[in-house]
Symmetry: C3
Subunit: 365 residues, 3 copies
């Protein structure tokens, strides 16, 4: 038996504080552009089936009960109590929480309290820059305030995260932009921008990435699934990865799927690169063991991290954790049964991927 | 037991009316550029082995009998009788037939009669445009006749299909071209064209795609395997997919493999996009269950369609159907055995993928 | 039982003649840019675990014994004796050896003697061109000497190999460059070059590839894994592959992974293209059966070749051979058990992939 009693969820979001109906719950099960096609429902997905498998028992129902019955029970208990039962049943002991999503979501402290676990903040760089832009009058003050904000965030956040690759494609020029270039781009962006306006200028995105690299905490880069469009291939990051080698800041490739073998390859070649094995499992459900096994092909076992990638529904934290734990147990257990791995090695690697690697990379307790 | 008594083959071609020898039969087993290398045969492929597994019993022989013995028996029965036995043994109850391939192939009505099944026509856009060009004297008459032809085809065909992505790469500009652009491109094409000349101009291909989108029936787009060259990645279609969202016309991504996970992802993100799970199975044989399972990772279960992708040989319809049925039963059966899916859900999803989704998307019976 | 008593390793390197400590041994287990991250070791990889599984018994130790104990035993026996035991325990009967790597490595003759096997030389084109440049005073003499060197190598080498795709990307213009272009590029390269300088000019790389195609022996092209950066996708080779069709020279796509399905597809479409199923297995260890099965999806069985891809450590030849043999037995054995393949076909295909195909392609004994 491969056991992983304690999980560090190295990338997730908070949970919604509001009661949900069948439709609003369903809408959280996947990231889509538009409502489900007529005659289809997002409950008929791997994520939907995994929620129905793992979550009803935590609320006192049979596995695979119909969605309407599950939602009725969830409302009966109330969003707080059902969230408490779900999160405390997940086996996650530390949550690293990206706080950048809009909506009425719990922050790290509240999530920690509901889950009876630890929680730390992950700061999203693009939102930080947009907030600085909202309160800076000139290019000069924007750049000074941004430097201070990144420095300040580095002091309290456990990691930075960036969606630069999703917004602009990952093939950003790998080098830090010149100061003059940055000033020019900032001037153009600020002049054309209204409060809340999104940062997508490639020069400013690169400036932000390099500010984070200089600041020190691990930098999580979104690649693969993450957003509604097909995610970028992390191989396009190779230039940036090579340019940041040896600078002392670790890079964590988030999501990966369907490019997770490429992300694993980069984690194998570059000492400062790590591969996430999380969100892909939550999205692929009954296939989680295979997807995890694919990550385990090329990534050194000390370079793989667990995450749920959950957002909005505590059910997704539960599903991410249970699918990971079961997948890891099945994959490593099979290799032990085949004689390919020793039982002691399998137990040791399971502990590394579940929590040990994250503890080392993020300097947790 | 997961059973799928009735299959809708949402994309295939007719079968050859001529008797075949060992060499002409072998040449239909794969799409290659040139004859097999010395010392090799196309019977030594997954498709070849699958034909030898499933088809001999339908003609009264042992599975895996040598190709020469199978061909002898096939000739003994005659092309018509062997076709009847094979197609009637496939379990396919409705065929959607792309009639654009050259060669002495049965049309939908004849295929229906031989197979004792229903058959409907799928109209290939590029051939339609080439036929219109053959009979139009001027740019003006070409454009008017084309509009009428598309409109007319929409009234009787069950779907349109396009190889625009294969001919020009899928990264076509996503928007409809301007009328002036279309007239210019048509003038250049018609001026340089001889009767039967192939349409590969990107502006005219886009014009054709958008004419089909406006006409209404589902539009099947070739991506992945389909042709002899390595097929285009459907991710390159994202711009076109986004531009056609909400217009009321469904897009079906054909073949997919080896990019089938990307096609499944698009089907998950965009309500009007569907993923084919067919031809890849016929080509990968003993690996069909894995390939199907990969499609089932991200595609919502209401968005997956079966096809055989068969052309020329009724053996390929048989193999496509048997591989699909066995793969589906094995994949879903395993998930039920593991407790990941409930038996009722598995049976329901099997029926959706085998026939229900196609019935809804194409408005069958 | 699927048995493969004799293996032809169609692509490997020699083994180090020096005694190795724990650190120098570890450094040979993977190709990385920089030392392993703090807290991690390259022994914690699929290759590391596979070495610990298969090699200790050949030196009289328990499988999975700790690395330090294994290294102590290896030093106790000495590099020559341990190499002899390992290589003779691999089951490889013929080695095709790329002799281009730097370092104190055994050549083909010495490898053959240590391993009690046959060995033949594979000539790396780029190194040949660099050696010719080192000894040629003018552009004219360089081009003449190069032509002679390629011609001479073709007479004694069993194959050519090229890293052109790795050095420049695989999307080289497919046609042979014009003589004037070649002279100009050679003049620029020679003028700016010091002895030993690397060839990376795309015109000269193309000239080299086409010289090899004209010379006759099979040409092995590195794609996928091979080097430290993420390897190029062999699909980018399609233009070159199409341009060389029918000229009588076979192309062998090395490594492939993570693009091995694309390489297999090309091997299925083009009669003169072959797919390697080797190095990827050594790198993916416990996952070797799955990776091999993915290659077996589209590649005709007469077009797949075994290699270890090993370099430096005889342990890697052992691991490559054992993983391949076990993976092949398990994959084909499963298909036989499922009724998908006949036992006779499985045995025949196993012999083809293990040795028969390589014997035919390279004209071995």
């Amino acid at each position: 038996m491969i056991e992983t009693p304690s999980l560090v969820d190295q990338y997730c979001h908070g949970v919604l504080r509001t009661e949900l109906g069948l439709g609003t719950f369903e809408a959280q099960l996947a990231r889509t552009e538009g409502s489900p096609a007529p005659g289809t429902t997002l409950f008929d997905t791997q994520t939907g089936f995994a929620v129905r498998r793992w979550c009803p028992p935590l609320l006192g129902l049979e596995p695979h009960c119909p969605p309407a019955r599950y939602l009725a029970r969830r409302r009966e208990l109330g969003v707080l109590e059902s969230g408490r039962r779900l999160l405390r049943g997940s086996g996650i002991t530390t949550y690293l929480v990206d706080t950048a999503l809009p909506g009425d979501l719990t922050g790290p402290a509240e999530l920690a309290s509901v889950a009876a676990a630890d929680a730390r903040e992950v700061v999203r760089l693009e939102l930080l820059a947009e907030q600085v832009a909202d309160t800076s009058g000139t290019v000069g003050s924007y750049l000074v305030n941004l430097a201070e904000a990144v420095h300040g965030a580095a002091a309290h956040a456990v990691a930075f995260t960036s969606v630069a690759g999703v917004r602009h494609g990952l093939a950003l020029a790998p080098e830090p932009p010149e100061p003059g270039e940055v000033r020019g781009a900032a001037a153009r962006w600020l002049a054309g921008r209204r409060a809340g306006g999104e940062l997508s200028d490639p020069v400013l995105l690169r400036h932000l990435l390099w500010s984070a690299v200089a600041a020190g905490p691990p930098l999580q880069l979104h690649a693969g699934l993450g957003e509604t469009g097909p995610g970028p291939d992390p191989v396009a990051l190779t230039g940036f990865v090579r340019a940041t080698a040896g600078l002392g800041t670790d890079l964590v490739l988030l999501h990966g799927y369907p490019h997770h073998r490429h992300a694993a390859h980069l984690a194998g070649v570059f000492p400062h690169v790590y591969a996430d094995s999380g969100a892909a499992l939550m999205r692929t459900g009954a296939r989680a063991a295979t997807v995890l096994a694919e990550i385990l092909e090329l990534a050194p076992f000390g370079k793989i991290l667990f995450s749920s990638g959950a957002q909005g529904l505590p059910e997704l934290h539960v599903v991410g954790a249970h699918l990971f734990r079961e997948a890891l147990g099945r994959v490593l257990g099979t290799w032990v049964a085949e004689g390919a791995w020793s039982p002691a090695d399998a137990r040791r690697v399971a502990g590394m991927i579940a929590a040990g690697n994250a503890g080392r990379v993020y300097g947790l307790g």
